[in-house]
Amino acid sequence: MILASVLTTNLAILVLAGFIGFVVISKVPNTLHTPLMSGTNAIHGIVLLGGLILFGFGDLDAFSKVLLVIAVAFGTINIVGGFLVTDRMLDMFKSRPKPRASEQDGQSGSDGKGNS
C-alpha cells in the first residue's frame, strides 16, 4: 500500500508534467521553434542527476564507475552545450525588435565596425 503511494504519486507527477509541457509549448511562435527545440534538448540533460544518484550507491564495481563517469560527462555535455547553443541562437533575436531605441550606443558601435 505504501508502495502504491510511491508509484501513484510519481505517476501523477508524470501525467501532470506532460500536460504542463503541452500547454506551455503549444503557444510558441514558429520562428522560435529551433531555439525551443534546443532549449528543451538542454533540459533533458537532467539525466545527469540519474548518474549523480547512482554514484551514491555503495555497491559499484570499477566497470560501473567507468560507465557512470561517461554517463555524467554525456549528461553535462547535454546540459552546458544545450543551454549555451540556445543562448547563442537567441542572442541574435534579442536586439532585433527595437534596436535603435534602447541600445543607441551599442548599435552605433557595431554599425561602425560593420562598415569599416
Partner: protein, 497 residues
Amino acid sequence: MSTPLATSFLQSESFIYVLYIVAFALFIQGLRGLSGPTTAVRGNRIAAVGMAIAVVATLLIPAEGNWGLIALGIALGVVVGVPAARQVKMTAMPQMVALFNGVGGGAVALISWVEFRSHGSTYGSHTVLTTYESGPFVEHSIVHTGALPTYVAIFSVFAAIVGSVSFWGSNIAFGKLQEILPGRPITLGAGQQVVNMVLLVLALAAGVDLVAGAHSELLFIGMLIVAALLGNAVVLPIGGADMPVVISLLNAFTGLSAAATGMALNNPALIVAGMIVGASGSILTNLMAVAMNRSIPSIVAGGFGGGGAVAGAVGAGEHQGTVRSTSAADAAIQLAYASRVVVVPGYGMAVAQAQHAVRELTKELEARGVEVSYAIHPVAGRMPGHMNVLLAEADVPYDQLKEMDDANPEFQRTDVSLVIGANDVTNPAAKNTPSSPIYGMPILEVADSRSVIVIKRSMNPGFAGIENELYFDPKTSMLFGDAKSAASEITAELAGL
C-alpha cells in the same frame, strides 16, 4: 559553519525536495519565456538556473559519494561541451542539436545499465513492499533489505531501450546533416519494415525477459545492442529533408526515457523535466511534420526521397521545357528596376553561408528605393526558425521577415522574387500536381510574382528529390552558382549600375 544541525537540514529530504520544486518552477517559467522573442533569452537562462539548482540539490543527497569521479565526469563534459557549443556555426545548428540529444540518450542508456548491474539481481523477485519506502533518494538501502518493485525494472529497461535508440538514431542524423553519411535514404528496400519490426520485437522480448528475472548482464548488453541497431535501422532510410522532424522526435524520446529513469530512481526532478521535454518534443515534431505535409508514421517508415525521385522523374517528363539561364549582370538590372523584391531563402543559402552576402545585396537594393522583404517558409533551412536565426545573425531587420501566411498574398504584387537555395518549398507541384509526393504541402507561392530569379548550384533536385516546375516557368530565370558568390556578384553589378 556547518554544524551538524545545519548539515542535516540541508541534506534532509524535505529541503532537497523544496529545491527540486523551485527547479520545476524555473523550468516551466523558462519555457514560457521561450515563447516570445523578447523574453526568450531570459527564459533560457532561467531554465539553466533551474538546472543548476536541481544538480546542487542532488549533490546534497546524504548517500552521495565518489566525489572525485563526479568531478571528473562533469569536467569532461564541460571541456567537450562548452567549446563545441561556442564554436559551432549557425548553419550547423541542427546537427549540433542532434549530437547533444544523442549524448543525452546515451547517458540514459548507460545509467540504466549501471542500475541493472547494481540491482538487476533483484529484478523479477517477489517484491518486498515496505522496503522501498526507505526514503525517496536513499534507494540503495533496498539492496540490502530486499527486492525492487517490478515497475522499477520495467521503467529502467524502457529507458535503456529508448535511450539506446535515441543515441544511435541521433548520431546517424548528425552524420547525415554533417554529410559524413549520404543524405539520401539508405534502405534495405521492401525488407526494411520487417527488419525494423524484428529488431523491435527482439529488444522488447529481451526487456520482458529481464523484467521477469533473467539475471544475465549479457542479455542486457544484447538488448542495448539490438536497440542500437534499431536506432540505425530506423534513421538510415530517412531522407535528409525529413531529418529535423526525426531529431525532434528523438528529442521527445530522450525526454521520455529521462522521465522513465526518474520513475525507476524515484526522482521527481527527472520525472518532471523529462516528461515536459517528452510532451513539448511531441508537439514540436507534429508541428514540423504538418508544415511539411508529412505524417510522422510515413516519415518513420522511411524511403522518402528515393521513391520521390522516381515519381518526380515521371512528373518531370510532362513539365520538361526550356530552362532560362541568366547572368549576374542581367539579374542586377532586373532587381534594380523592380519596386518590390521578395527574397526567398532556403537551405542552399545556409549551406553557402550566404546570409551576409544576401544582406549586402538587399542593402544595396534598399539604397535604390526598392522595397525588400524576406519570405520564410516554416521549414526553410531544415528546422522551423532556423532561417530566422541565420538572417538575424546577418542583421536583417526583424520586420522584414515575413512568415508564409503573410508573405503569400503579397507575391502577386511583387516584381521579382529572388529564390536563394530554396527548392521544394517553392514547388508549384505541391498545389497543382496531385501525383507529386509533396502534393498538399504548404508552399511559398513564388510563381505568382511577376518574375522569378532562382540562384541555385545546378539543376539537381532538392532534398526531397523532386523536379521543381518553377524552373521551367517562362518567367523564371536561373542564375547557376554558389549562393554566396552569386549574391556578391549581383551586389557588385548593382554598385556599378
